[in-house]
Amino acid sequence: MKGNRYISIRRLVFICMVVVPALPFAITLMIGHYYFSTSLENGAISAIERIVSDHGRIIDTFLAERKSDLDFIILSTSLEELKQPEHLQRVFNLLKQESSAFIDLGVFDASGLHLAYQGPYALTGINYQEADWFQEVMAKGTYVSDVFLGVRQVPHFVIAVMREESGSKWVLRATIDTELFSELVESVRIGETGDVYLLNSEGSYQTVSHGAVDLMQKDPGGAAFPDTGGGVSTFIKTDPSGRTYLYAVTSLSEKNWQLVTRLDKAVAFSSFQAAAHRIIFTAVVGGLFIILAALGLTRYILGRIMQLDNEKDTLGQQLIRASRLAELGEMSAGFAHEVNNPLQIMKSELGLIQILWNDIPKDNLPAPPQDISQIEECLDQLQLQVDRCGKITKGILQFARYSSPNPQDIDLCNFIPQVKAMVAKRANVHGIALAQKISGPTLPVHSDPGQLQQVLLNLLNNAMDATLERHGIEGGCVEIEAGASSNGVITLSVRDNGIGITEDDKKKIFSPFFTTKPVGKGTGLGLSVCYGIMEGMGGRMDFSSRHGVGSVFSIHLPAGGQKGPPDAAPEKKH
C-alpha cells in the first residue's frame, strides 16, 4: 500500500520536475530556432540575390561591350575595306586586344554570302542565307545568338551587326569563345557545390558549369524559369535527381537569357544547420540536465517524505504506547483499589488472630509444641504475604500517578552522588564499576526529590541486574551521565554494558507486571512506576538498547533554577 503511494508520489514529482522546466526550455529553443533560421535563410537568400543581380549586370555589360565593339567597327569601316583579308586581320587583332573572347570575325553581304573571314575555320564563301542568326540580324540590325553548332559543328554563339551602306546591307559577325564566356559566368560561383549557368528561352544550357551541366542540353528541371522582369527571383526546388537546390534567377537585358545560380540547399543553409546542431545539442544536454536534476530532487524529496512518515509512525507508536499505558494505569488502579479492601480485611483479621493467639496460654494446649510453632509460622507468613500484596497495590497506585509530586529545584551535581552512594555497596559486592559523568558545575532540575530518587535507584538497580546477567561478578560497568540537552531540558542517563533488551521486550518494557526476572524477584512494576512518575513530573523517559550489548535509559527533566515549566506540578485546588 505504502510502496504504491511512494511510487505514485515519485512519478508525480518526477513528471512535474521534468515537464515544468522542460516546457519553457523547449518553447524558448523553438522560438529561437524559428527566428534564427528565418533570419539566416533571409540572409543567405539576399546574399545570393545580390550576387546574381550584380553578376547579371556584369554579363549584360560584357555582351553590350562586345556589341558596341562590332558596332564601332561596322560604323568606322566600309565593306570594301573589310573585304581585304589584311585589313580584316588587322581589325580582328585590334578586336582581340579589346576582348580575348573573340574567336573569329566575318563579313557577309545582304544575300548571306560569307565575303571575308578571319579565324581558325575555313568559312569563306559559305552562304548563310538560311541561318537563323542571319535572318534575325537582317531583321533587327543587331543580334546575339543562342549557342549553336553551325557549319563548324562546334558549340558557339555569335554577335552580329548589320549596316546599310549606300543602299546595300552588309553584316559583320563575330564568334565568342564559349569557354571564356563560361568562365566569365562561372566566376560568380558560390561555395563548392554552387553552379552558375545561362539558360536560353527554351531552357537549354548556354554555358557549362564545372561539368555539372552540358552545353546546349535541356535543363532536366524542364522548361525555362518564368521571366523575372529584370529582378531576381529565388526559390527552392528539387531537381529530378532528388537534390534540393536554392535557385536564384535573373533575366539578362541584352539577350533573352536567364542567369541561373543554384546552390545545394544544405550548403546554402550550412550555418543554419550548424546552429540547428547546436540547438539540438543544447536541447539534449539541457534535457539530460533537467532529468538528472529531477531524479536527484525526486529522490531527495521522497527520502524526506519517507523519513517524515517513519517519524510519524514512530510518534504514533509512542502515542499508542502512552495511551495504552494510561489505560493500563487506570485499569490497574481500579483493580488495586478493589483488592485493597479485601486486603485491609485480611490484615485486620490477621491482627485480631495475632492478638487472640498471643492471649492464649501456650503451656498446656492440647497440641504438640511443633504444631503450635507451625501455626505461628503460618501466621507470620500470612502477614508477610498480605504485606507483599499491599506493596504491589501501592506500586500500581504510584504508577497510576495517584500520588502527587512535590517538585522543587534539585542540583543533580549533589543529588547523583547521593543516590550513587546508596547502590555503591551493592555494586562493589558484585564487582560492577560505577561511574558518573556530570557536565557543568551545577545542574538544577525541577523535580520531586523522593520520586526522582526512586526512579534513579530503579534504573541503577535494573542496570546492575542486567550487567550481572551478562558478565557475572566481573566486568559489569554502569555509568550515570547528566547534562543539559536543549531548551530547558536536562537529560539524565544510566548506561550499562549488560544483557540488553530483545526487540520483543522493547514494546512491553514499560507495561505494568512485565518482567524478565524470575517469579518473585521482580514485580514488573519498577519501570512502569518510573514512567508514571516521569509523566507526573512533566518529564519524559526513553531508552535505547541492543540485545547482548547494553542499554541506555534516559530521563528528561525540566531544568530548574529559573522558573520551572508551568504545568510540571499543578496545584490541586478546588
Binding site: 480485611i345 485486620s348 491482627g351 500500581i396
Partner: protein, 135 residues
C-alpha cells in the same frame, strides 16, 4: 481516666467488626457506623473523641461526612482512611480539617498510634480553648 471513645466509619462490615474487636482489646471504646449519615447520627447520641473515616463510601462520601462533622463538632479529631485515587482527596481532607490520614491496607498498630496522637492533640486543644472562651 475513662476509655477513649472512637467511631470507625467504613462500608466494609467485616472490617468494622474486626477492627472494633482489636481496638476494644487495646482499651478503646469503639463505635461503628456503616455510612456517613450513620456516623453523624451516632455522633449526635454519643460522646466521641476520635473519628476514623473512610474516604470512599457509597452515599455520603468521606469528604462530605468530614465537612459535616467539622461543621457540627469543630474540635473533632478525624483520621482519614484512603484507598488509592483518594490520596489527593486525603490531602483535600487535611485541608478541610482532618488531622491525619492513613493509606490502606493499614497496620493496626499504626492506627492505634495515630488515634492516641489524635486524642492527645484534642485534649491539648480543649485545654487551651476552655479558658479563653467563656461560652
Amino acid at each position: 481516666m475513662s476509655n477513649i471513645q472512637m467511631l470507625i466509619v467504613d462500608d466494609e462490615e467485616r472490617f468494622l467488626l474486626t477492627t472494633q474487636k482489636i481496638l476494644s482489646r487495646k482499651g478503646f471504646d469503639v463505635m461503628i457506623a456503616h455510612s456517613g449519615q450513620g456516623a453523624i447520627d451516632m455522633l449526635k447520641e454519643n460522646a466521641v473523641q476520635v473519628v476514623v473515616l473512610d474516604v470512599k463510601m457509597p452515599g455520603m462520601d468521606g469528604l462530605a461526612t468530614l465537612r459535616e462533622i467539622k461543621r457540627l463538632y469543630p474540635f473533632m479529631e478525624v483520621i482519614m482512611l484512603t484507598g488509592h485515587a483518594t490520596v489527593p482527596s486525603a490531602v483535600e481532607g487535611m485541608q478541610s480539617g482532618a488531622s491525619d490520614y492513613l493509606m490502606k491496607p493499614i497496620d493496626m498498630d499504626l492506627l492505634v498510634e495515630k488515634v492516641e496522637e489524635a486524642v492527645a492533640r484534642r485534649r491539648a486543644a480543649e485545654k487551651k480553648s476552655i479558658w479563653p472562651q467563656p461560652d
